[in-house]
């Protein structure tokens, strides 16, 4: 141990552990509470962290199965949560796939080729990425209304529209991949080109296989960002069955129709997989996120 240690260090270590644990208790309290609430009976029940009369009512409704109460009345699921989750996953998967495809080719050009206005384009991409899409929702709505007049599956209230709109936000991913490409020595590709490979072949068969890790990170990042996207989807999607999770979830907590328990189960059910994906991939994601400053 190189550090010079004061004598009281043992107590300080214990105090720190205690402090950290208390802090974590406070931080995790809301999350534990939601899990607990999802097992309580009814939508207005209060109680301790461990529910006294655990009930699977909310979980059954969240999974789309009508629930028969003790007195024989049948509760119908208020919202199609699984359908929303599926919509979110579908949209996020297709968008992230397209984003990955297009930003990889762009990043390749930015990393390896020389062309006019390269610096200007890269810098302005960073600047335009900062403008929140909330502010141009009127324009986006008009745009997709017009597109829908010509191509109906890309119009208002289609998933195609949300996927297409997500293609506006690739700057960050391009920067991430470009940084990675630049860290790979270009002599391999040059050797291949000398041997008669085309630029495209050098990219496809040499650089891409070397970049699989960063491509996975960008895919996951784009996936999570698309799952969380709220403003654009809230304007473009109208029909209850078409909503994504981010837009639909708030419908549980309207003042007139306050379904706290049902929400809790739906939140755990849909939030858990996304949380686990994030925690599992955090090592890779953190690098990508902190480089760009997307969230928080």
């Amino acid at each position: 141990m190189a550090m010079v240690q004061p004598k009281s260090v043992k107590y300080r270590v214990w105090a720190t552990h205690l402090g950290l644990l208390c802090f974590i208790m406070i931080i995790v309290f809301p999350l534990l509470m939601v899990v607990s609430i999802s097992f309580r009976t009814g939508n207005f029940a209060t109680g301790s962290l461990l529910p006294e009369n655990p009930s699977l009512e909310h979980w059954s409704l969240a999974l789309g199965i009508p629930y028969t109460q003790a007195d024989g009345t049948v509760l119908q699921p208020p919202f199609p949560v699984l359908l929303w989750l599926w919509n979110s996953i579908k949209i996020a998967t297709i968008s992230s796939g397209l984003i990955l495809l297009l930003s990889t080719t762009s990043a390749y050009a930015f990393a390896r080729m020389r062309f006019k206005f390269k610096g200007v384009i890269l810098k302005s991409m960073l600047i335009f990425q900062m403008f929140p899409p909330v502010l141009s929702l009127v324009a986006l709505y008009a745009l997709f209304d017009e597109i829908g007049n010509h191509v109906s599956w890309l119009g208002i209230d289609t998933h195609g529209a949300v996927i297409l709109a997500s293609l506006g936000g690739m700057a960050l991913h391009i920067w991430t991949i470009k940084g990675y490409f630049e860290s790979i020595d270009r002599s391999l590709e040059e050797a291949a080109i000398v041997d008669g490979a085309t630029t495209w072949q050098a990219f496809r068969y040499i650089l891409l296989p070397l970049s699989v890790p960063i491509l996975a990170v960008v895919f996951i990042l784009a996936f999570i960002m698309n799952i969380m996207e709220y403003p654009i989807a809230s304007i473009l999607l109208l029909n209850v069955d078409n909503l994504t999770l981010a837009v639909g979830a708030q419908q549980y907590l309207y003042e007139q129709n306050y379904l706290w328990g049902d929400f809790a189960a739906a939140a755990v059910l849909s939030g858990l997989p996304i949380t686990l994906i994030f925690l599992y991939c955090q090592k890779w994601i953190v690098g990508g996120l902190t480089a760009g400053g997307v969230k928080g």
């Binding site: 720190t16 950290l20 929702l137 009127v138 745009l143 969230k295």
Partner: protein, 515 residues
């Protein structure tokens, strides 16, 4: 060796030659189709869209046909995505800011004129009650005149979307089928509107309600000087392109109006109209305060935790790290809603705990101060893990012997923080803090899901809440208000664009981005 030069390598040239005939045919076809669509859009008065389409397709054709622009082929799709879905909406929004585009001025002039000219009014007092009898695919209409006579139409079908003239003839008795109920008549309403029934004495009847026909005629006639003459009260309305309404000599206007350019009026309204200026300024100050407080709190907490986790003596770092980034891993749209429920005044768990401990039940959603504190608390919860992760990365880069030297000199932890840690990490941290500030300045999702802006600011003519940020404020002006004032919302959006733009330029300068 650079690929620009490589693009004309032998293999490449061969490939281009082989595919050139096919390529030029495809390009030609795309070009013709694009030209056609552009003309169609232009003819539909969608000037902005026509230009956008022309730019996107035109540049695509150039880039994919010219060998000089070979590198641009790789970047074209992502740039096009950005142009269409970020830059175009931005310019379009700035444009809307100079118009009176709103729920009352939604249509083009031609559509407004068409709408007004199609309006009908009842010219006499006589109403003919009617019944509709289905006859196979067709219908027969039977009417009872005010004097009690029964008349009926020949059978007609309603498939075509055009006016039908029918002559009424005396009817002997009701057909032996049941007449349609009101529900079916409502369904047929638009078709019945197309009917013009001519009585034996030459009167022309039109649908006047769900139960009767009456003599109707057009409410307005178009005069040679472009004015609309109101047949009911014999007044002329002239189109006023300054305000986008038809207006008579007394200044009274006809609804709906059309969209016109009104210059800086929206901006002037924000400055001069007190019922807009007051809430705007209040929201502006709160937005800055909120973004600043968030950055300060998340940074303080994140830096503290990062420092603790850097400490060699602490075991179980993996566990702590995992638990501490949990708020970051849960999707924000879920955790914000969770807090919305937990802070609920009556059955929220937070108030239950507070009541148990201190006997208080704060009203988090109706008191402005409490609502704002709640938002800052929730956002600190959401945002500190990001700062912690940033700081952990930066702290690792500080040479350890600096701290050893300071320990030798008997420095306190505070000395270490202000004299070693902060000076070492501040340079790379500042651009990230500015980015975080800009993000929170526009943190729409938090406000929309947590409070929706509530509680409202009293005396505001636009929907404005004490917890609204500028972004949620513009969103509410555009989409929530009954007025749906898109023009005003776009003007405020433009102001935010300028603020965000200058922030990101500053950021670019500070972070010394290398390209």
């Amino acid at each position: 060796m650079h690929s620009h030069a490589l693009s004309t390598s032998v293999a490449e040239r061969k490939r281009i030659m082989n595919t050139s005939i096919f390529k030029w045919a495809a390009l030609g076809a795309t070009f013709l189709l694009a030209l056609y669509l552009t003309v169609v859009l232009y003819a539909q008065d969608q000037f902005a869209f026509a230009v956008l389409f022309l730019v996107v397709i035109g540049s695509a054709l150039y880039i994919f046909s010219s060998n000089k622009a070979y590198a641009h082929r790789y970047i074209y799709p992502s740039i096009a995505g950005m142009v269409v879905f970020v830059i175009f909406p931005l310019i379009y929004t700035i444009g809307i800011g100079f118009t009176n585009y709103s729920a009352s001025n939604l249509l083009s002039f031609e559509r407004v004129q068409e709408h007004l000219l199609s309006q009908q009014y009842q010219t006499g007092d006589e109403r003919y009650n009617f019944k509709v009898y289905p006859q196979g695919d067709q219908y027969v209409l039977q009417l009872e005149s005010p004097s009690g006579e029964l008349v009926e139409t020949p059978s007609f079908s309603v498939t075509a979307d055009e006016e039908i003239d029918l002559t009424l003839q005396p009817a002997e008795s009701a057909p032996d089928v049941a007449p349609l109920g009101l529900k079916d008549i409502v369904k047929l309403k638009n078709d019945l509107r197309q009917l013009e029934l001519v009585t034996a004495d030459g009167k022309s009847l039109r649908l006047a309600g769900l139960r009767n026909f009456a003599a109707m005629s057009a409410a307005f006639t178009l005069e040679a000087d472009g004015s609309l003459y109101d047949q009911r009260n014999k007044v002329a309305y002239y189109p006023n392109d300054e305000i986008g309404f038809y207006q008579n000599a007394d200044g009274a206007t006809l609804s709906p109006g059309w969209t016109v350019t009104i210059g800086w009026d929206n901006y002037l309204r924000v400055i001069t109209d007190e019922s807009i200026r007051e809430p705007f300024l209040q929201i502006f100050v709160w937005t800055i305060a909120f973004a600043l407080l968030t950055v300060v709190f998340t940074l303080a907490l994140g830096l503290l935790l990062a420092n603790i986790l850097q400490w060699d003596q602490i075991g179980g770092k993996g566990f702590y790290r995992m638990m501490l980034i949990l708020p970051y891993a849960v999707p924000a749209f879920i955790s914000i809603l969770v807090f919305k429920g937990l802070f609920n005044q009556n059955f929220g768990e937070i108030n239950l705990v507070l009541e148990g401990l201190f006997g208080i039940r704060p009203d988090w959603f109706s008191d402005a101060g409490l609502a704002r504190s709640m938002i800052v608390i929730v956002n600190t919860w959401l945002g500190y893990p990001y700062m912690m992760l940033l700081c952990m990365g930066l702290l690792q880069a500080i040479p350890r012997d600096l701290y050893e030297a300071s320990a030798m000199d008997g420095a306190t932890p505070l000395d270490n923080l202000f004299k070693i840690t902060l000076p070492q990490i501040i340079r790379p941290l500042v651009p990230l803090l500015i980015a975080s500030f800009a993000f929170n300045f526009n943190n729409f999702v938090l406000i929309a899901l947590l409070t929706g802006g509530a509680p409202d600011i009293i005396g505001a003519t636009t929907p404005a809440g004490t917890t609204d940020l500028l972004v949620s404020y513009t969103y509410r002006i555009a989409f929530q208000d009954s007025g749906q004032n898109f023009g005003l919302a776009a003007a405020i959006a433009t102001v935010i664009f300028l603020l965000v733009g200058s922030l990101s330029l500053l950021n670019l300068k500070l972070s010394k981005v290398k390209v």
